[in-house]
Symmetry: C2
Subunit: 222 residues, 2 copies
């Protein structure tokens, strides 16, 4: 069976899981701890990054963006990138915004310090990093609000990889209870809608060993 | 006319320029110095990153990957990603390898320190950074050799965005003469083939103010 090798702490993995569930593509799951030298990850993907999709015929699809595009090409029943080339470009631009910019400016600081460092290195977070991440988060929540005030979903009328990329990153920050939702009602309204979708259930069930989720994390009416 | 806003120091811009020339798509060029607050870049792309493509109707396509996918969708005369979903996934995986991994492990150290820092900040390079970049470069040249020993081009039989992404990154390291070509004959053979293509001429004409290219840079028979 098609198998996704992933980890609950990996935002790109969460993005692909949302996409698979939205497309109702069945898949088995294999949890990999990427920081373990014996995890087997490097033989699946020489870049050492999650997620990795392994097809029934043994073909390996690595790189989160390549996996999303691949799934869109082999399964056209539910479109998740957009219809016209311009719409698709906008969805890809915004997916990259969250995959790269949000990850660098917020995820690496907050999730990196509070979750990854604790789980993988059993180390305490650096308060300067947390401060930087919390400050940068405001800009991103403002931008989310700006987008959703003008559009139904982040990239336009359709739910796309832009929403999945954003939700994947934000869900991890939400796990540690660090999203100031009450200050950003537009971003919150968007996240509530996304969180209520059946595809999101898989993320809400995620549990990170040794770190209980913040109460807000599984609450659909927060 | 369709206009590409770019800079000679930006590897993602070089990738898109190669792609446009391979597809023989006509475009005007606008050089933007991204480190200048008055460059106008932020109004084109809120992520502040180059390149940005502006279409005749004013539509703005931002993010290097989104631009490549967009060009592939609007111009099907020359395929630059691949044919089957699996081939396309491999081209995208390798493009990301060079866009992200090579940039982080080599480009940011060597090109960042020797070119970007000098041109944008008039500052001297940090020798520890240069050492790290030179060491990491070996792994990437080995991987290039490994790929080209097995395949005609990096992702397979076809010339794809994987080759353009790799050449874009490597051409900047070559500009400063830091590629130990003689130690990596397979990687060199691949680069010679690519460098001889008409699409590559635009890069060979590039000149970075205040930094002359290494003699090897424009030499097709190095």
């Amino acid at each position: 069976m098609r198998t996704l090798h992933h980890h609950t702490l990996s935002a790109p993995s969460r993005k692909v899981r949302l996409l698979l569930h939205e497309k109702r593509i069945e898949f088995a799951e294999q949890i990999i701890e990427p920081w373990r030298p014996d995890s087997g990850l490097w033989s699946l993907n020489p870049a050492g990054a999650l997620p990795v999709l392994v097809e029934d015929d043994g073909n390996i699809i690595a790189d989160h963006n390549a996996i999303c595009e691949y799934l869109e090409e082999i399964d056209t029943s539910v479109a998740t990138i957009g219809k016209t080339p311009a719409e698709r470009a906008e969805a890809r631009r915004l997916a990259a915004w969250f995959d790269v910019k949000f990850a660098t400016e917020v995820g690496n600081y907050l999730v990196g310090e509070k979750l990854y460092k604790r789980v993988a290195a059993r180390d305490a977070p650096d308060s300067r990093m947390l401060k930087a991440g919390r400050e940068n988060l405001h800009t991103h929540l403002q931008y989310l609000g700006w987008l959703t005030e003008r559009r139904k979903w982040l990239a336009g009328e359709m739910l796309t990889i832009a929403d999945f990329a954003a939700a994947a990153q934000i869900s991890l920050v939400d796990y540690i209870g660090d999203v100031p939702w009450d200050d950003y009602p537009l971003a919150k309204e968007w996240y509530v809608r996304l969180k209520s979708r059946p595809s999101f259930r898989c993320l809400l069930k995620d549990s990170i060993p040794g770190v209980a989720p913040a109460p807000v994390y599984t609450n659909l009416d927060f």
